[in-house]
């Protein structure tokens, strides 16, 4: 009985000690203190967005901290409240839920803390700059590459195409899917089979295998290729053929994940529409610094060749969106011709390993 009690107390003490040691970490660099409250850090893409922003911010002398909302609007609100209480010089968000985040943004506004957004934005509140990918461009390129390659391979744009799309309450998923549908709708001989998934590899595998078992597919496209499963499902059916081989099913995706770059190199994946998260994160980090320094503030739409121009090689424009000023880095196709380009995030991520 006594031993059990001692063990119980020891276990509780160990848990508390662990919590204190983990929670006690703090940054110590000088300069502006800025925080990025990430929606999640559970995949390579979100890791690159966060780490690249942090790297660039710190290279500019800022003390950059990353927090994780773990896909929870409640957790996100808590992190925002903590950041406001700690008096950060700027808060960079990437809302899990754009409506729920509005309250937090307004509280930051009231506290006089400038707010910036990375990847996605809130539905309200004052945001100084939103840096994100052009989702319409991503979906359009994925679909156009699919159609072009189907025609190249089969001589006509016809047949059944599977689209794995994400939940429609996510703006990025909805815009990408709508763009894909808009392109494919121009080709009446294409029969589009749309299937909802929730970004899990099990779903990517099971849905692809079920649909490919019951239908003769000519192509597959998806809202993000960060999630594996499609190539494994085709492989398990004996339908994963190299480009140029008879029976090859054309596959295009969005994001250009590092694993997909390897598949492209092996001729097992046709193309991907690049989400330039390194580009827009870099631009945002510089803009935050300029903003806090008071050296530059956007006043008009136009190319981003403004003072300092540290974003060399990144093609983007300042635009005035309904939510505030934004920059959208355009997408471009990634295929066998350029998959080794070191500026692709799928290659750039390797420096974080």
């Amino acid at each position: 009985m006594q031993a059990g009690r001692i063990l119980r107390h020891a276990a509780i003490a160990a848990v508390l000690a662990l919590g204190i040691s983990v929670g006690g970490q703090s940054a110590s660099a000088d300069g502006y203190k800025v925080v990025y409250i990430a929606p999640q850090l559970n995949n390579a893409a979100d890791i690159v967005i966060a780490r690249n922003w942090q790297d660039v911010s710190e290279s500019l002398g800022m003390d950059a901290v990353i927090k994780n909302a773990e896909i929870s609007a409640k957790r996100e609100a808590d992190e925002w409240a903590t950041a406001i209480a700690l008096g950060y010089d700027a808060i960079v968000g990437g809302p899990v839920d754009s409506l729920a985040a509005t309250i937090s943004v307004k509280k930051a506004n009231e506290a006089g803390i400038p707010v910036f957004m990375l990847g996605r934005t809130s539905a309200g509140g004052k945001v100084e700059l939103i840096a994100r990918a052009d989702n319409i461009s991503l979906g359009t390129i994925a679909a156009e590459e699919l159609v072009r390659r189907i025609e190249e391979q089969r001589g006509e744009i016809a047949g059944k195409v599977l689209e794995l799309h994400g939940p429609m309450d996510q703006v990025n998923a909805r815009q990408r899917s709508e763009a894909i549908q808009a392109v494919l709708a121009k080709h009446p001989k294409i029969e589009l089979i749309r299937k909802l998934q929730h970004w899990t590899p099990e779903e990517f595998f099971d849905i692809t295998k079920s649909v490919a078992s019951a239908n003769e597919l000519v192509g597959i496209t998806m809202g993000s290729d960060v999630i594996p499963g499609v190539d494994a499902a085709l492989d398990s059916l004996g339908q994963l053929k190299k480009i140029g081989e008879p029976g090859h099913i054309v596959v295009t995706g969005i994001d250009a994940d590092p694993r997909i770059l390897d598949l492209i190199g092996n001729d097992l994946w046709d193309a991907s529409a690049l989400q330039d998260m390194v580009g827009y994160g870099t631009i945002l980090a510089h803009y935050v610094k300029h903003y806090l320094d008071g050296s530059f503030k956007i006043t008009a739409a136009g190319p981003i060749d403004n003072p300092g121009a540290p974003y060399h090689g990144i093609e983007a424009r300042w635009n005035e969106a309904t939510e505030g000023w934004e920059i959208q880095t355009p997408s471009r196709p990634v295929d066998k011709s350029n998959y080794t380009d070191p500026s692709l995030w799928g290659n750039a991520i390797k420096k974080y390993q």
Binding site: R194, K195, L196
Partner: protein, 325 residues
């Protein structure tokens, strides 16, 4: 006859659900789709076996999905030949598989320690373990996807006999048969029923309650690791969120199949029916030309209907039992 129907309600529901799906979508009536249902069910099935061992002993194991995710990612990290995302060790697959199973067993031991020795509620312990393992998975792999797995590692999940029958299906069905045998014909199985029915009475009867409970959790952990190996092979890659949310389906399959959350009741064959029912629903909805927006709603309603039907048959069975002299 009535008794037979009541005891096999899940199989009858499975039969009628399958007929209904095939009537609406005739393309479902093919060998390939049938195999797909079995393959889809294999991972869930392996996890459900572990859960049934724990449920019979009157305990929960919420951590099985994280055990799957953690062991899959660590195993893939150790065995991957990828220069950037792997560990660089490229350990022999056989060794990695043993290590994965050992990790699963260790998770079961840790759960048992807190539940048996410290008498902390199993729900809380395994929930904490679920969160902790998910967190360690993040820390361990920097949230990267692990790929470039050697063929000998992926064979169990990825190889199909004759290009049609996945090895994982044979494994999963075999495990159910063996587990049912263990429950029906071994002292361990009988002891679990006794412990789940009345722990104090089982202890008084000389059953080593703690040891049996420990074994149930170790088996659950090892089956989680086994499922991880199968799933990694099937997908030929492992992501940070592998298995996330599966615990809900595990519970649903167990309950649909007649498993009791109070313990001491159920078989392996009932939950097998529950697993296959979920597999039919998921695969059927994938093939049918149903609007994407309806899939989750339809799946949820069908699962709820199956659980309600199971409960109704249970009530009838209880009345029938009490009214029979």
């Amino acid at each position: 006859m009535t008794r037979f129907l009541l005891r096999n309600a899940v199989w009858i529901v499975l039969l009628f659900t399958t007929i209904a799906f095939v009537a609406v979508e005739p393309r479902l009536l093919s060998v390939r789709i049938f195999i797909n249902v079995l393959e889809h069910s294999s991972i869930l099935g392996i996890l459900v076996i572990g859960m049934i061992f724990c449920l019979l002993a009157g305990r929960f194991d919420l951590s099985s999905e994280s055990t799957l995710g953690f062991t899959a990612l660590v195993g893939a990290w150790m065995v991957s030949t990828n220069a950037f995302f792997g560990s660089g060790w490229q350990l022999p697959p056989a060794l990695v598989i043993v290590l994965m199973l050992a990790m699963g067993a260790a998770v079961g031991c840790i759960n048992s320690f807190f539940i048996i020795k410290l008498r902390v509620n199993a729900f809380i312990v395994t929930l904490a373990m679920l969160l902790a393992l998910r967190g360690f998975t993040y820390v361990f792999t920097n949230a990267n996807t692990m790929y470039d797995l050697p063929p000998s590692f992926t064979a169990l999940g990825g190889y199909s006999i004759g290009g049609l029958l996945p090895v994982s299906v044979i494994l999963f069905l075999s495990l159910f048969i063996v587990s049912q045998f263990v429950l029906s014909y071994t002292a361990f199985g009988r002891d679990l029923y006794a412990i789940g029915g009345n722990r104090e009475a089982a202890f008084a009867a000389g059953i080593r309650v703690d040891r049996r409970t420990l074994t149930a959790f170790v088996l659950s952990g090892m089956l989680g690791a086994l499922a991880a190996w199968v799933l990694a092979g099937r997908l030929q890659a492992v992501t940070i969120n592998l298995g996330q949310g599966m615990v809900f389906e595990v519970f649903a399959a167990a309950v649909i199949g007649g498993g009791s959350l109070a313990g001491g009741k159920g078989t392996m064959m009932g939950p097998l029916g529950g697993v296959l029912l979920l597999g039919v629903i998921t695969t059927g909805l994938s093939v049918m030309p149903i609007s994407s927006f309806w899939v989750d709603a339809v799946r949820g309603v069908l699962i709820l209907a199956a659980v309600v039907l199971w409960r109704v048959t249970e009530i009838f069975e209880e009345r029938w039992r009490t009214s029979t002299p």
